[in-house]
Symmetry: C2
Subunit: 268 residues, 2 copies
């Protein structure tokens, strides 16, 4: 057994959808969360910048005596996972591989849609990972830049979010996909409106679910689950502006969180 906490990070609040899944599947584990709210969004930034930011955050998380790291951000997982695994000597799990595996297991007609930020789509991380498992699968990718600000504004199910979803997802109508990957941790917040536009025959994939399963496997295999009888104490850190973070966290996690601390992340 290993009582040390798990480090989880994202560009902002989106990664909380992953935290929620970890809390569901591993309720005894302690979590140290970092949201880079000063530099959100990552989705329009270059690979070099996203990788630099990921390294700064991992150096910060390593000061907290953690046993593993979850990159709860598709943009950072797509652009930086390989590089940070080379740099740091700690198990690191991204959200892309678990999401891709779930997608390839789900599709029946071998036609999968992928939506995400510009940087995630440009990296082709999902389509490469899916094709590693089955070369015959065809993938179709569309970046949806406005979904993150819509989710952050709380407009997740109104006429505007419906029209935006329709505009972005229209290209899928003729492509006969049966599976759609929500390739950004913010997107599950918009899942009702997305499902409405693509129709009920298309299965939505939320990579957060599979990521939490992979973490559970990793910890079980390494005999590294926390087995303390005391309730876990989670900690939340951000790079800026805690009040909005606390509000959205309360909604995403369906409970209030302890006081959030601001970190000068550029120092790491």
């Amino acid at each position: 057994m290993d009582s040390r906490p798990i480090g989880v990070f994202d560009s902002g609040v989106g990664g909380l959808t992953v935290v929620q899944e970890i809390m569901n599947q591993l309720p005894n584990e302690e979590i140290i969360y970092f949201g880079d709210t000063a530099r959100v969004p990552y989705g329009s930034k270059s690979k070099e910048t996203v990788t630099k930011y990921s390294k700064q955050i991992i150096r910060f998380l390593l000061t907290k005596n953690i046993k593993a790291i979850i990159i709860a951000c598709n943009t950072a997982s797509s652009n930086s996972l390989e590089e940070v695994r080379k740099t740091f000597d700690i198990p690191i799990i991204g959200v892309v591989k678990p999401g891709a595996v779930m997608a390839y297991k789900t599709t029946k007609n071998k036609r999968i849609g992928i939506i995400g930020t510009e940087a995630t789509i440009r990296s082709e991380s999902y389509s490469k990972e899916i094709k590693k498992h089955d070369k015959e699968i065809e993938t179709f990718s569309v970046p949806c830049p406005l979904f993150v600000p819509l989710a952050e504004e709380g407009w997740t199910d109104n006429e505007i979010s419906y029209l935006v979803a329709k505009k972005y997802l229209e290209p899928f109508a003729d492509l006969e996909i049966d599976t759609l990957v929500l390739g950004c941790t913010h997107y599950p917040l918009l899942k009702d409106v997305i499902q409405n536009v693509v129709g009920n025959k298309v299965q939505l994939i939320n990579p957060a679910l599979e990521t939490a399963k992979d973490l559970k496997e990793l910890l079980s295999a390494g005999n590294a689950l926390r087995e303390d009888k005391t309730a876990p104490n989670h900690s939340f850190y951000v790079s800026d502006n805690t009040s909005k973070f606390e509000q959205i966290a309360a909604i995403a996690l369906k409970k209030s969180i302890p006081p959030v601390e601001i970190i000068d992340i550029e120092q790491y």
Copy 2:
């Protein structure tokens, strides 16, 4: 006369609407522009973070032998102008004061609307500046967080931008304003849809116009205009991802710009 260039900065591409006005009114001046595209948007960040970023950018611009600085960003002008004027020994002009002066000169019924980012509205910079000139004027402020991503997506005049504008600007319908300040340098890109929603009786104020006038006055009064016969060479720097910046710059300035250079702004 003074041949040195003018430093202009913004969180991203929005400040180019100010550059365009400077080029119109002072076609002989050289401009050094910095867009903080790695850390855009500023509008949801705290006063402390925006001030820290402004100082880094000014330290960078000072390496370019400039004679004056324009903060072509309402969020940075609202939150940081006072502090950076104390720190640096160079003339610094923000966009808020010129915009506020123009608004108070324009209103007839003394009812002015102000739209901007969350950070600009929270600072109350426009209403304080307007009331310095006339205490009887009533101001009504609304933050419009989705306008910046809409402008950056290029959705400036479609059904979605109309519905978003309607949702944000609805509160003004009963307030009988006759003047509306576009308190974010991105917003002039959406001016048609904004005018459409508020109606033709409301006069829109674009602070960029007055800011360029103030700069002209400052340089004329100090005998510091550039009087070289050679055409000016402008330079553009960003903190990330130049290709999108170059595309939007070509649209905003209605001409192509020289190659854009990426700067590691956190070093300053």
